[in-house]
């Protein structure tokens, strides 16, 4: 077991990225993720890398495009309004099939919104976010330790599938400190990036072009079909989730990230009251863990999605439950965080409603 270090979430991501082989970071200041670019600005020059503060989030994501196209592990981070600005670049990166890791420490929206924790970017993250038919792999850790472990996973998934990966946190996960341990990473065997623009001298006789333009419709459709086959493969192989007390649960709750921890606190109290509540915590938001929900729908009486949003993931839960059981929603927005007490009250309302019904 390695040493446990007390670290802020934002800084822990930075250190984990460095340990995953990332030497280049392109960013732009926005609260509540500033400690990440600041950490990279301090650490990367010490190890022969660079953090470039771009003139905008738009420029930052396009620097990521160039760097990823040149074949290195590269990261950018931002928070909601800044992530909106990156959507153009993310669409190009997905279209050109470039691996990179993008961190979104979500804050309240819409518009300039606020700076407190939120989960209102779920749709943007899981539906692509920019133009065209594409997917990001979206990972949603719930603790700083999991965030650290997720970063290595994120870079590996990005490289394996040549696809952008988003780590979806929130202001709380970015700002809070918890003990973390940087575990020895097993070196994953990933293919050489033969497609990268490293200059002809590194791949004589084959010109490498990074591009997402296909002017002929049949060629573009072929490219899209290729992407869709890739996404199907990811959906088949890379779903990650955690189940807690689902086996005997009357009510199965869906929650991710920080919210899942609040739900866990509420569940402990619920069990003391004799309420049988379980949790399915999606760790990959895309691909969404459809199967555990479908399985739970065979025996649980009801489902509840708890989010720091006005109700976004609840749609995926409904798709997964597929009409077999009622799916309820409880959420807070704007930086207001659900409390264990508020969540518990919702459990009671649903379960007592069932008993009454």
């Amino acid at each position: 077991m390695g040493e446990r270090i007390l670290m802020k979430g934002n800084e822990a991501i930075g250190e984990a990225a460095i340990r995953a082989g990332c030497r280049h970071f392109f960013g732009y200041p926005i609260t509540p993720q500033n400690e990440l670019p600041e950490y990279m600005a301090r650490r990367l020059p010490e190890i022969g890398g660079a953090m470039v503060q771009a003139e905008s989030e738009i420029a930052a994501i396009n620097m990521v495009y160039g760097a990823a196209g040149a074949g290195v592990r590269v990261m950018t981070s931002s928070s909601s309004p800044g992530i909106s600005l990156k959507q153009e670049g993310l669409s190009y990166i997905a279209g050109a099939e470039l691996p990179c890791v993008v961190v979104n420490m979500v804050r309240g929206g819409p518009g300039l919104g606020g700076i407190q924790p939120a989960q209102g970017d779920y749709w943007q993250a899981t539906r692509g976010g920019g133009h065209g038919d594409y997917r990001l792999i979206v990972l949603a850790p719930a603790t700083i330790q999991e965030m650290v472990d997720t970063v290595q996973d994120a870079f590996d998934l990005a490289d394996k599938y040549r696809n952008p990966v988003m780590i979806l946190g929130d202001g709380m996960l970015g700002q809070m400190m918890e003990p973390v341990e940087f575990r020895e990473q097993t070196v994953s065997s990933l293919a050489e990036k033969e497609w990268a623009t490293t200059g002809l001298r590194n791949h004589p006789g084959r010109r490498n072009v990074i591009n997402s333009l296909y002017l002929q419709p049949d060629k573009l459709e072929e490219h899209n079909q290729h992407l869709q086959r890739k996404y199907a493969e990811i959906a088949a192989n890379e779903v990650r989730y955690e189940e807690v007390d689902v086996e005997d649960a009357d009510l199965v709750v869906a929650a991710y990230g920080t919210t899942a921890r609040i739900v866990r606190s509420a569940m402990e109290e619920a069990r003391r009251e004799g309420l049988r509540v379980g949790l399915i915590r999606p760790i990959t938001l895309w691909p969404f863990p459809v199967e555990p929900f479908a399985r739970a729908a065979e025996r649980a009486h009801a489902f509840l999605s708890v989010e720091m949003s006005a109700g976004q993931m609840v749609e995926d839960v409904r798709l997964a439950v597929n009409g077999k059981k009622p799916v309820y929603f409880y959420g807070r927005t704007g930086g207001m965080v659900p409390t264990p007490e508020g969540v518990l009250a919702k459990f009671r309302e649903i379960l007592e409603g069932k008993h009454n019904g």
């Binding site: 030497r23 280049h24 392109f26 660079a50 470039v52 771009a54 003139e55 905008s56 738009i58 420029a59 930052a60 396009n62 620097m63 990521v64 495009y65 160039g66 760097a67 990823a68 196209g69 040149a70 074949g71 290195v72 590269v74 153009e88 670049g89 190009y92 050109a96 623009t197 490293t198 200059g199 002809l200 001298r201 004589p204 010109r207 490498n208 072009v209 990074i210 591009n211 997402s212 333009l213």
Partner: protein, 251 residues
């Protein structure tokens, strides 16, 4: 018998999509010659823009990346920062560089990124069908300035080279034209210089090349070349605007 004229090796042997009389072809050739003469094709990565040169990645025989509209300087920054051994250039039009991509070009220049930028200014959006560009001259008619550009309504055309030359970052900025054979030779020297600077690690170099658009200007190629001489050059004077090698010398 010795061959005295041939296709540069860095220029692909394909038919381009450019319109007859357009000077993109000349400028492509000059870029390819510079790459050949400096012997850098095997370590060069070009970045294509969105605009008429969007397919430039098919025309240069080196590794290429296709950037989003206006973002080529940011893409170049990404490539160059992670692989400083590569020679990285962008090839951008006026809509790409001087309108949607102004932030990217200004800050790449301000940072003094060691890259080479070829900026082709023909004062119009060619690819999309002849709309007004940030560099369209006052009085010129386009599809979105059908009564002629009126400074009171559409503002004034942007002089990029002069603007960027006010920054500390750039090493070299020159505006050239290709409307006469003599000027083509001068443009060649400037473009080669802009690449050589990067090889020598001197920093950000930009060559603005005045260009034509016979199709969207509604002119014959010869008339278009005359327009460059008579209307564009007076507003966009040719010359060196920044040169760190010349600084300190008598000017």
């Amino acid at each position: 018998m010795a061959k005295v004229f041939e296709r540069p090796k860095a220029l692909a042997d394909v038919v381009t999509h450019y319109c007859p009389g357009c000077t993109h072809g000349i400028i492509h050739r000059l870029v390819a010659e510079a790459i050949d003469e400096l012997g850098i094709v095997d370590r060069t990565v070009g970045v294509a823009p969105v605009g008429c040169a969007v397919l430039a990645y098919d025309y240069f025989e080196c590794d290429m990346q296709e950037a989003a509209h206006g973002r080529a300087p940011a893409v170049c920054t990404g490539i160059k920062r992670v692989r400083p051994d590569l020679i990285v250039f962008s090839y951008q039009g006026d809509g790409d560089l001087a309108s949607i991509g102004t932030a990217e070009i200004v800050h790449a220049a301000a940072r003094g990124e060691n890259i080479t930028v070829i900026f082709v200014n023909n004062g119009i959006y060619g690819m999309t069908g002849g709309q007004m560009a940030p560099t369209t001259l006052v009085g010129h008619k386009t599809t979105t300035s059908p009564y002629g550009r009126d400074a009171k309504v559409q503002g004034h055309p942007v002089r990029i080279s002069e603007m960027l030359a006010t920054l500390e970052g750039p090493a070299y900025i020159e505006r050239v034209s290709v409307h006469t054979p003599q000027l083509v030779n001068r443009a060649k020297q400037a473009i080669k210089r802009a690449f050589a600077n990067q090889v020598e690690g001197k920093g950000f170099s930009l060559v603005e090349v005045l260009s034509t658009c016979p199709t969207n200007w509604g002119m014959t190629p010869v008339e278009a070349l005359q327009r460059v001489a008579n209307e564009m050059v007076p507003y966009y004077p040719l010359g060196v605007f920044k040169d760190i090698d010349a600084e300190g010398e008598d000017k």
